[in-house]
C-alpha cells in the first residue's frame, strides 16, 4: 500500500537529518512586494524552531527520495541498509514547501536526494522543483540544493539560477577515507565540481558588458560538510582540508558533523556517542582560522597528536602555550594582538578600538562590554590593572579546566 504523505514526510526528513547545515543566510535581499508572490530573504537567516538536539530549523530539509544506488558506510540511506524507503513527487515537495512557508514554520527548502537511476536524472528532478517554485509559484524564499558531483554541467548551471546555495558534501577529510567508506564516490570529481562551481559563481558575479548588471547565480555561494569521527582522521587533518577547501573553492562554510549512530548501522563503523565536544572545538578552530588571523598550524600546535584540546577552547589552549606573547595592553595593542586574547571576540575588539580613542580602558569597561574578566585578566594589562606575572603561574591551566565532576554511587 502506498504510504501517506505524512508517513513519507517522516521517512524523508529522518533521512535528511544527518546533514548539519540548515543555514538560510548570506543571500541577496529580496521580497515579494513587487512581484506580489510569496517569500523574502533578508540577509541574516531566521531559525524558525529549534529541535531538542539544539539545532536550528530554518528550512524544510528533506530528501526527494531515500532510495540510493550508492553504498556509503556512514549513510543511513546506503543501498545495503534496511531502512524504510519512500519518495516524493516533485509536486508534493513544492506543495509542502509552500504550505509550510505560509504558516511561517520555515523560510525555505533544503532539498537533497539519494541517487536514483543516474546522477543526471536525480539532479534534473531537483532542479525541476526549484524551477517550479520560482517560476510557477513566484516563490522568493530561500532554496538550498544539494549538488551531485557527477551531474552534467548544464544541470548544475540551471540549479544555480534558481537556488540561493549549492552544496556538495566532501564527507571525509581524506581521499583514502572516501575510498574506504564511500566506494562509489570519487574525491577528484567532488573537487572538480566545487572548482567549476566557483568559476561559474565568479563568472556570473562579473557585470555583463551590455547591461552592466550582475546575474544571479547561487548568491549564497557553496558549502560542504565533513563527518567527524567516522574515520581515523585527526583534527589537524580535518582543519587542513577545511583550509584548502576555503582557499580553493571560496566556500561560505565547512560544516562539521559529529558521526552519529544510524539505524541499521554498517559493521565498519564505530557505534559510539557522537563526539559533540570535538565537533564544537572544530567549529571554534574554524572561526579562529577565518576571522581571527590564526594559521591551522598554530591552532593545532598545542598537542602533539594533532587533536584539539577538549577541555579548553582552542584560543585559550594556544595562549597557554604562548605565554611569552602576553599580557597584551588593551590600550595600545593592535587589532591582530587583541584578537588573540582569550575571551575577546571580534565585536569586543571593535568596541575597544573605538572607545580607546577617547578614554583609557579599565577592567570595568570590559565588564560592561560583557567580557568574562576571569578569563581575560591573566592575559591583559588595562588602566589600573597589571596581572602580576599571572601568566607565569603553573596552575593557570587548572584555572580554566572544567571542574572535575563529583562521583556518585551507582
Amino acid at each position: 500500500m502506498k504510504k501517506t504523505l505524512k508517513e513519507r514526510l517522516a521517512i524523508l526528513s529522518d533521512a535528511a537529518k544527518y546533514d548539519a547545515s540548515c543555514a538560510s543566510s548570506g543571500t541577496v535581499k529580496r521580497d515579494s512586494a513587487a512581484s506580489g508572490g510569496l517569500g523574502s530573504t533578508e540577509g541574516s537567516g531566521i531559525c524558525h524552531a529549534y529541535a531538542p538536539d539544539g539545532r536550528c530549523i530554518s528550512l524544510l530539509k528533506i530528501l526527494l527520495t531515500n532510495f540510493c544506488i550508492y553504498d556509503c558506510a556512514y549513510c543511513i540511506n546506503r543501498s545495503s541498509s534496511n531502512v524504510e524507503r519512500a519518495r516524493f513527487t516533485p509536486e508534493e515537495v513544492v506543495w509542502l514547501t509552500l504550505e509550510f512557508y505560509r504558516r511561517n514554520y520555515i523560510e525555505g527548502l533544503f532539498l537533497s536526494s539519494g541517487i536514483i537511476r543516474s546522477s543526471d536524472h536525480t539532479m534534473e528532478e531537483m532542479v525541476r522543483i526549484a524551477r517550479d517554485l520560482r517560476t510557477v509559484h513566484n516563490f522568493r524564499g530561500y532554496i538550498h540544493l544539494k549538488t551531485i558531483p557527477e551531474a552534467s554541467a548544464k544541470l548544475i548551471e540551471e540549479a544555480g539560477l534558481y537556488a540561493d546555495r549549492l552544496s556538495i558534501n566532501i564527507e571525509l577529510p581524506t581521499d583514502a577515507g572516501i575510498d574506504k567508506l564511500a566506494p562509489e564516490k570519487r574525491p577528484e570529481n567532488i573537487r572538480r565540481s566545487m572548482g567549476s562551481l566557483r568559476l561559474k559563481i565568479e563568472e556570473m558575479a562579473e557585470p555583463t558588458l551590455q547591461t552592466k548588471r550582475r546575474q544571479k547565480f547561487a548568491p549564497a555561494g557553496q558549502s560542504t560538510q565533513m563527518i567527524v569521527g567516522a574515520d581515523g582522521a585527526n583534527d589537524a587533518t580535518i582543519l587542513g582540508t577545511s583550509a584548502r577547501l576555503y582557499g580553493s573553492y571560496s566556500l561560505k562554510r565547512v560544516y562539521y558533523s559529529a558521526f552519529s549512530p544510524i539505524p541499521d548501522s554498517s559493521k565498519n563503523l564505530p557505534l559510539i556517542k557522537p563526539p559533540l565536544m570535538r565537533e564544537h572545538r572544530l567549529y571554534q578552530a574554524d572561526w579562529l582560522y577565518r576571522f581571527y588571523g590564526f594559521d591551522i598550524g598554530e591552532i593545532t600546535s598545542a598537542r602533539t597528536d594533532g587533536m584539539l584540546d577538549l577541555d579548553l577552547d582552542p584560543k585559550l589552549a594556544w595562549a597557554l602555550g604562548h605565554r611569552e606573547q602576553f599580557p597584551v595592553d588593551v590600550n595600545r595593542a593592535d587589532k591582530e594582538k587583541l584578537l588573540r586574547v582569550p575571551g575577546f571576540g571580534t565585536k569586543t575588539v571593535k568596541s575597544i578600538l573605538s572607545s580607546r580613542r577617547f578614554r583609557r580602558i579599565r577592567l570595568e569597561d570590559l565588564k560592561r562590554l560583557g567580557v568574562s574578566l576571569k578569563k581575560v585578566q591573566p592575559f591583559i594589562t588595562a588602566e589600573g590593572w597589571t596581572p602580576h606575572r599571572l601568566v607565569d603561574r603553573t596552575d593557570l591551566r587548572a584555572m580554566f579546566e572544567p571542574k572535575p565532576e563529583q562521583l556518585s554511587l551507582l
Binding site: 512586494a33 529549534y50 509550510f100 504558516r103 577528484e188 575597544i352 580613542r357 577617547f358
Partner: protein, 484 residues
C-alpha cells in the same frame, strides 16, 4: 522645578523626539525632566501637563549622529520605563561631547545598546515564532487565502516588525494579534494598531504535518536541551504547535538511541545485490587508443606519483594539436588553471596569449603544457599562495612531460622559467645564461628559453616591468621566426 512629560510609549520615536527637541532648545537639564508613559502604575497619566518650556534664544539646533537616531528608534520600543530618560541624557551629552556614540564602553551607551539588542532579539524572535493558521474561505468563495496568528512579544515592536511580514507574505491576507497591538495586510494596505488584542481560538490541520517533520528531523543521539532553550525559550512554547512534542522527544531520546544500537546491521535487501551486480557488470566506457595523447591524458588524471595531487583539484594536462611544431612548457598550473583543468587560462595565461597575438603566433597551433601537472599551494584564508614545486616533484612529473614530447614530436620546445628549464635539462642553470638563443638538444630538437609570464606580472617596479615585457615580446618574435 521639575518638568513632567507624558508619552504613549508604544514604540513611536516621533513623540519622544519632538518633546526632546523642545527641552533641548530650552536647555533643560536631564535630571529635572520626569518622563512618564501610559503604563505608569500611579494612574496619573495625562497629557495636560505636556507643556514644553520656551526655547532659549541662544540655542543652536543640534544635529546628532545617524547612529544615535537608529539606536533611539530601537530603544523607544523597549518596555523599560527608564528608556526615555536614558535617551534624553545621551542626547544632552552628545550636545556637549559629540563622540559619545563611539565610546562603546560608556555606561549609558552600554545600557542603550543592551535595550536595543533586546528589542532586536524580540523582533527577530517574532519573525521566527509567529505561526499562521489558515482561516478557510466560506464554501464556494474564491479569493485570497486568509491566515491569523497570535503572538506575545516582550516589547512594543508591532509597527516595527509588520513590514517584514508584508514583504514576506504578499500574496495572502494575514492578521497578527498580540497583547501589545496588532497588524494586518490585505494585499493593499498594511495596518497596525497598539490596542491590546484577545487570543483567538485557532486550529490548522497542517500543524500535524509540521509536528511530524519536527520530530523526525530531531536527532536523539545528540541531545542538547540547553542549547535549544537558549534560542527557543520556554515562554514562546505555548504558541508553538511543535513545542508540545518536546518533553516526550527528550524523555525518549536515550531509549531510542539504545534501541538503535542493539539492532545490529541486518542483511541487505535483494535490490542492494542487484545494484552491486549491475555496477560490477556496467560496460566500461571506451578508452582512447593506447599510445595517443588522449590515452596519456586519461592516465594522467589519476596520477599519484607525488603528494601534490590530493591537495589540488585536478591534473592539468597539456593542450594543443597532437602534431604541433612548437611546444611551450611552463612551471605548474595556478589557481584558475587548477579549477578549469586547462593550462594558461589565468592572469599569466592572458599575458601569454596577448603577447602571442601581438607577434602573430596562433596559440591554437601550439602545444601548451607545464613541467608539473598539479597546482602546489599554501592556503591563506580565502586565497591560495603559489608554492614552487621542489626538484623531486619536478622529476616525478617529468614522466608525463617526456611522453608528451615523444607523442607530439615538436621541432621547437620553449621553456618558460627556471622550473621548465630544469625539467627539460635536469640542470640547474641561471635562466639569464641561456635565455633568448636557440639551443640544440641531443635529440635534434631546438630548445629556447625565456621568462615565465607570471614572473613578469610579479615585478613590482613599473619601469623594470615594462622593460621585461619588451624583452619577453622580443623572445616571442624570435620564437615566431624559429618556428617558421
Amino acid at each position: 522645578m521639575i518638568y513632567r512629560y507624558s508619552l504613549r510609549g508604544r514604540g513611536d520615536l516621533t513623540e519622544w523626539r519632538d518633546a526632546a527637541r523642545g527641552f533641548l532648545a530650552a536647555g533643560i537639564l536631564p535630571n529635572i525632566i520626569e518622563w512618564r508613559t501610559m503604563d505608569d502604575a500611579d494612574g496619573l497619566f495625562g497629557f495636560d501637563d505636556n507643556r514644553l518650556p520656551p526655547p532659549d534664544p541662544a540655542h543652536v539646533p543640534l544635529s546628532v549622529p545617524a547612529s544615535f537616531v537608529k539606536l533611539a528608534g530601537a530603544v523607544v520600543c523597549h518596555s523599560d520605563p527608564t528608556r526615555f530618560a536614558l535617551l534624553y541624557r545621551m542626547l544632552f551629552r552628545i550636545l556637549h561631547g559629540r563622540h559619545l556614540m563611539q565610546v562603546a564602553t560608556d555606561p549609558d551607551v552600554v545600557a542603550a545598546q543592551r535595550m536595543a539588542k533586546s528589542v532586536g532579539r524580540d523582533y527577530h524572535k517574532m519573525t521566527a515564532f509567529v505561526r499562521f493558521k489558515e482561516l478557510p474561505l466560506p464554501e464556494g468563495a474564491v479569493g485570497r487565502r486568509r491566515f491569523i496568528s497570535w503572538f506575545e512579544p516582550d516589547h512594543f515592536i508591532i509597527a516595527r516588525v509588520a513590514p517584514f511580514f508584508q514583504r514576506r507574505f504578499t500574496d495572502m491576507d494575514w492578521l497578527i494579534l498580540t497583547p501589545k497591538g496588532s497588524a494586518s495586510w490585505d494585499g493593499e494596505t498594511l495596518r497596525t494598531t497598539d490596542d491590546p488584542a484577545e487570543k483567538p481560538d485557532l486550529r490548522d490541520e497542517t500543524d500535524e504535518l509540521w509536528r511530524t517533520y519536527y520530530s523526525s528531523i530531531f536527532n536523539p543521539a545528540r541531545l542538547k536541551v540547553k542549547m535549544m532553550t537558549k534560542e527557543m525559550p520556554k515562554k514562546y512554547w505555548k504558541n508553538l504547535p511543535e513545542a508540545e512534542l518536546i518533553p516526550s522527544l527528550i524523555a525518549n531520546a536515550e531509549a531510542s538511541v539504545i534501541e538503535m544500537g542493539k539492532k545490529a546491521a541486518s542483511e541487505p535487501l535483494p535490490f542492494h545485490h542487484r545494484i552491486q551486480e549491475a555496477a560490477a557488470n556496467a560496460p566500461v566506457p571506451p578508452r582512447p587508443a593506447a599510445g595517443t595523447l588522449a590515452a596519456l591524458k586519461e592516465e594522467a588524471r589519476g596520477c599519484t606519483r607525488c603528494d601534490i595531487y590530493c591537495r589540488a583539484t585536478q591534473t592539468v594536462f597539456g593542450e594543443g594539436p597532437p602534431d604541433a611544431k612548437v611546444m611551450f612548457v611552463g612551471e605548474q598550473p595556478g589557481d584558475q588553471e587548477d579549477l578549469a583543468g586547462r593550462p594558461f587560462v589565468g592572469p599569466a595565461g592572458k599575458l601569454f596569449s596577448d603577447t602571442l597575438a601581438e607577434v602573430g603566433i596562433d596559440r591554437h597551433s601550439l602545444f601548451v603544457t607545464n613541467a608539473v601537472k598539479h597546482f602546489k599551494y599554501e592556503p591563506r584564508g580565502k586565497r591560495r599562495i603559489h608554492q614552487k614545486p621542489n626538484m623531486g616533484e619536478v622529476r616525478q612529473c617529468r614522466w608525463w612531460l617526456e611522453q608528451e614530447i615523444e607523442l607530439v614530436k615538436p621541432k621547437l620546445i620553449v621553456a618558460m622559467g627556471a622550473t621548465a628549464l630544469f625539467s627539460l635539462t635536469d640542470m640547474r642553470q641561471k635562466l639569464e645564461d641561456v635565455r633568448g638563443e636557440p639551443i640544440a638538444m641531443e635529440d635534434g630538437r631546438i630548445m629556447f628559453v625565456t621568462a615565465h609570464p607570471s614572473y613578469l606580472l610579479r615585478i613590482p617596479d613599473e619601469g623594470r616591468k615594462a622593460e621585461e615585457l619588451i624583452r619577453f615580446r622580443e623572445d616571442m618574435n624570435k620564437i615566431s621566426r624559429l618556428a617558421a
